[in-house]
């Protein structure tokens, strides 16, 4: 059995995926745990599909996760949860935002087809398709929770908090929360702490149901 816990992170450019990667790194540096990532930089633009392969454990060498071998998916946007689904192991958990950010091309196609009698690719459809691989899904309105916590920018931290509530997650919640507090701008520490806890609590509640 390989000592490797694989996480596929996904979202839309600008949502703060790189901050999440840094939090994992900070915690692993503190505990001396091996970590490797395959990150997507390059065409520097907002609003594109973006993913980070993140692997923790002594046997995790490759910066890319093999198909069907991610132990957890964290998705900042619902369509993106589906886009990288081939990496997720059958039955493994997904922690995701229920937010759908429709790409401009989808909106343009909808308008061209006739917006009155056509609909977007909907959240319910996405959830149904995700269940083709796993039923262990925690979908949160991360944007609403982040706004409630004090800043819309903390959408990512809500989901990190939620991920810490997943059984088998390799980071201790306290370590992750502390790393967030160190990394985020000082003015937003309070809001991010609140966002983290809201995510954590929401995930624990979801698993109890």
């Amino acid at each position: 059995m390989k000592d490797a816990y694989n996480i596929i992170l996904s979202g839309v450019g600008g949502q703060g995926l790189m901050l999440l990667s840094s939090v994992f790194g900070e915690v692993c540096a503190k505990t001396g745990t091996h970590i490797v990532t395959g990150e997507q930089h390059g065409l520097s633009q907002r609003s594109g599909s973006i993913s980070v392969h993140l692997r923790i454990g002594a046997d995790a060498l490759s910066p890319l996760i093999a198909y069907g071998e991610a132990d957890l998916a964290i998705a900042m946007e619902a369509t993106e949860a589906l886009r990288y689904l081939e990496y997720l192991r059958e039955g493994a958990p997904i922690v995701m935002s229920s937010r759908v950010i429709h790409p401009p091309l989808e909106t343009a196609a909808l308008v061209d087809a006739g917006a009155a009698d056509h609909d977007y690719f909907a959240l319910a459809d996405i959830m149904e398709r995700l269940r083709g691989v796993t039923t262990s899904i925690v979908a949160l309105d991360a944007l609403a929770l982040a706004e409630k916590a004090g800043t819309a920018r903390a959408e990512n931290v809500v989901l990190l908090g939620a991920a810490c509530g997943v059984k088998g997650f390799p980071l201790k919640a306290d370590d992750a929360r502390e790393a967030v507090e160190r990394i985020v701008p000082p003015k937003t520490v309070e809001a991010n702490r609140a966002a983290f806890d809201m995510g954590f609590d929401a995930c624990c509640a979801a698993f109890e149901e």
């Binding site: 390989k2 839309v12 600008g14 840094s22 790194g25 540096a29 001396g32 091996h34 970590i35 490797v36 990532t37 395959g38 990150e39 997507q40 930089h41 390059g42 065409l43 520097s44 633009q45 907002r46 609003s47 594109g48 599909s49 046997d59 060498l61 490759s62 910066p63 890319l64 093999a66 198909y67 069907g68 071998e69 369509t79 589906l82 886009r83 689904l85 081939e86 059958e90 950010i101 429709h102 790409p103 401009p104 091309l105 989808e106 909106t107 343009a108 909808l110 308008v111 917006a115 009155a116 609909d119 977007y120 690719f121 398709r129 995700l130 083709g132 691989v133 944007l143 920018r153 990394i183």
Partner: protein
């Protein structure tokens, strides 16, 4: 990792991107002059070095006009006696290769290291160019790291090698090495003072011509022959003895895929991992081949190692089967991963036991059918969106050909625009347009960004003016090199160290262009008649569309404390005409699922007002029209 930790001089183990680890290693190696032109996947080396520059008064970091100038700047500093560095993307070395091939003859004095990063899968490049093939004809030694730690450690080794042999050393990476983060152990930073000294202290000849060239070539080849020993003893070359008569030869990130793939398949053949891939350690490879029945070569892109191993086997072990791409077991196209290597090894070795990667992928592909594409698109607030619309409207009804160039505006060739006819390489839009205007009856239009203009389009413009060509050039002047992360270019007013800003309009007029039209990007309707006027003239005409990159502008606004005021749609006024959708294609705009009217997502909107200017009924403004 946080910048404060990276710049702190003490040894430590910390989480960092491989590109950051390289920059840290350059500090530790006491490199004095580093010059760059940004290019993915190397840009973060420049960014990190640029951030270091103000903290170390002995360190010079420059953003050069292009890779050739960056390479030559590093060469000059090395000739003058200090350690120097440059890094560039794969195709960057095409631009710098003229100097690169000559320096392969002249050699260097202060240690000089060049890092080039190939991009298997062409994630953010125009080709899957394999830069390893530069090393052999240029007589330049080459190292290949697999991990962030190796990328760090190889820097010191490369400088030592460079100074011992008086040759430039190349470190060759790939995207999955550069953009790997992990825990890296770094050493002490100890900088020496940088003082000026006279040329006579270090004077040596650095030219190559006819008889000198023949002499120098012989000397370099002799040095490379001597370097066989270094290649054999290279600390980054390892042999792990395994079971049976099967062996694997690999290098770089492919080594990581290989080790995990072997675990997955439950086999343990011998593995030779090469850290130096030019010159190749011929004796090490020959010894590895001895007693093997089959040797599989695992490498991305072209069969560079495979051909060399075949040639060594022909001399020393002709009965060994050498398998890889040339045997049809591994693909030539795309990047490797564990599934690709597992498949390749299974095919080459005729073994079963591969996990059902493909079946899983196919199953999920079916679940993903019809999923909306989220292809790269202009950011909210991007100035190009408005410029492109104005140009499109001005050209409407004419016959035209449009030659594009490298930058964010390249996306004009993709959905939803599909509006470009050519895109070759940096600066090519002008040369290609020059050729076309000799032959075609259409309006010939060239696009170029500010950074690409200075990088490689200047000679094209000089040429077009000199030869009385007939074309329209549109310069997208957004103040920075946007696509690679908003680095400065000669038109920017900032740099790692103090700079002088060049004014594009003055440059264009100075070259002799008479018809120059500077416009404000964010006035899309007002710009249509101006562009039409430019089209009505003959000769070389230049439209300069001025408007800052949205991401750069966000940074400026954050720094100045200027709030970003998002727009909103007044649904009482909105008539569902969808001009904001069809003409703007902004990621911040989508339809309300119930009313099917446009809504602007406040956290994505950049407040550029282009959609508001397009709306024929005036439904868009910062308050949504209702004071809410």
């Amino acid at each position: 990792m946080g910048f404060s930790e990276l710049v702190d001089t003490k040894p430590k183990t910390a989480y960092m991107l491989a590109n950051e680890a390289v920059a840290r290693a350059l500090l530790e190696a006491d490199v004095k002059v580093a010059a760059f032109y940004p290019g993915s996947p190397t840009s973060e080396i420049l960014d990190t070095m640029g951030a270091f520059a103000p903290s170390f008064d002995d360190l010079v970091v420059e953003v050069a006009a292009n890779e050739k100038v960056a390479f030559e700047t590093a060469a000059g500093a090395s000739f003058a006696g200090v350690r120097s560095f440059t890094s560039m993307k794969s195709v960057g070395l095409n631009v710098a290769s003229d100097a690169f091939y000559s320096i392969g003859y002249t050699g260097v004095r202060g240690g000089m290291v060049l890092l080039i990063a190939d991009d298997p899968h062409a994630h953010s490049s125009q080709s899957e160019q394999d830069g390893r093939f530069f090393a052999f004809p240029a007589h330049v030694p080459m190292l290949e790291p697999a991990t962030a730690q190796e990328a760090h450690d190889m820097v010191a080794y490369a400088y030592e090698l460079s100074e011992r042999y008086g040759m430039v050393v190349m470190i060759r990476t790939t995207t999955r090495v550069n953009h790997q983060s992990s825990l890296v152990s770094v050493g002490q930073v100890k900088r020496s003072p940088r003082s000026r000294h006279p040329w006579k202290d270090v004077r040596a000849p650095y030219f190559t011509l006819s008889a000198t060239a023949r002499k120098l070539k012989g000397e370099r080849l002799a040095s490379l022959a001597l370097m066989q020993r270094d290649a054999a003893e290279c600390p980054f070359t390892t042999v792990s003895e395994g079971e049976g008569d099967i062996g694997i030869i690999t290098s770089g990130v492919s080594y990581l895929y290989t080790i995990e793939s072997l675990q997955t398949l439950g086999i343990s053949p011998s593995v030779l991992k090469l850290g130096m891939t030019h010159p190749l350690p011929t004796a090490t490879i020959a010894a590895f081949l001895q007693g093997k029945r089959t040797v599989v070569v695992v490498e991305e892109l072209m069969p560079y190692l495979e051909r060399e191993v075949r040639s060594i086997a022909q001399e020393t072990a002709p009965h060994v089967h050498i398998l890889g791409k040339m045997s049809g077991d591994f693909p030539y196209v795309g990047e490797y991963s564990i599934p690709v290597v597992v498949q390749g090894l299974s095919s080459a070795l005729g073994i079963d036991g591969a996990p059902p990667y493909e079946a899983h992928r196919v199953k999920v592909e079916a679940l993903k059918e019809g999923i909306p594409h989220r292809s790269p698109i202009f950011c909210p607030g991007c100035p190009h969106r408005a410029t492109l619309w104005s140009v499109y409207m001005a050209l409407k009804g004419t016959d035209y050909v449009l030659n594009n160039d490298i930058g964010c505006y390249s996306m004009y060739l993709m959905e939803p625009y599909n509006s470009s006819d050519s895109l070759l390489c940096m600066g090519a839009s002008l040369g290609v347009s020059s050729g076309m205007q000799h032959v075609l009856s259409d309006q010939v239009v060239a696009f170029v960004g500010d950074s690409t203009f200075f990088h490689a389009a200047l000679p094209g413009l000089v040429n077009a003016v000199h030869n009385n060509h007939n074309l329209l050039l549109v310069i997208f002047n957004n103040s920075v090199t946007a696509m690679t992360g908003q680095q400065p270019n000669p038109g920017s007013d900032f740099g790692p160290l103090p700079v002088t800003r060049l004014n594009i309009e003055q440059v264009v007029r100075g070259i002799g262009v008479e018809h120059v039209y500077p416009v404000d990007t964010f006035d899309p309707k007002g710009n249509i008649p101006i562009i039409k006027e430019a089209l009505a003239h003959t000769g070389v005409r230049v439209v300069i569309s001025n408007g800052p990159c949205a991401l750069y502008n966000d940074r400026l606004r954050r720094k100045a404390g200027t709030p970003i005021v998002p727009n909103a749609v007044d649904h009482g006024v909105c008539d569902a005409i969808y001009a904001c959708v069809r003409k703007v294609h902004c990621p911040a705009i989508q339809l309300d699922e119930a009313t099917k009217k446009s809504v602007i997502q406040a956290d994505l909107c950049n407040g550029c007002n282009v959609c508001a200017k397009m709306c024929p009924v005036g439904a868009i403004n910062p308050r949504g029209g209702d004071g809410a």
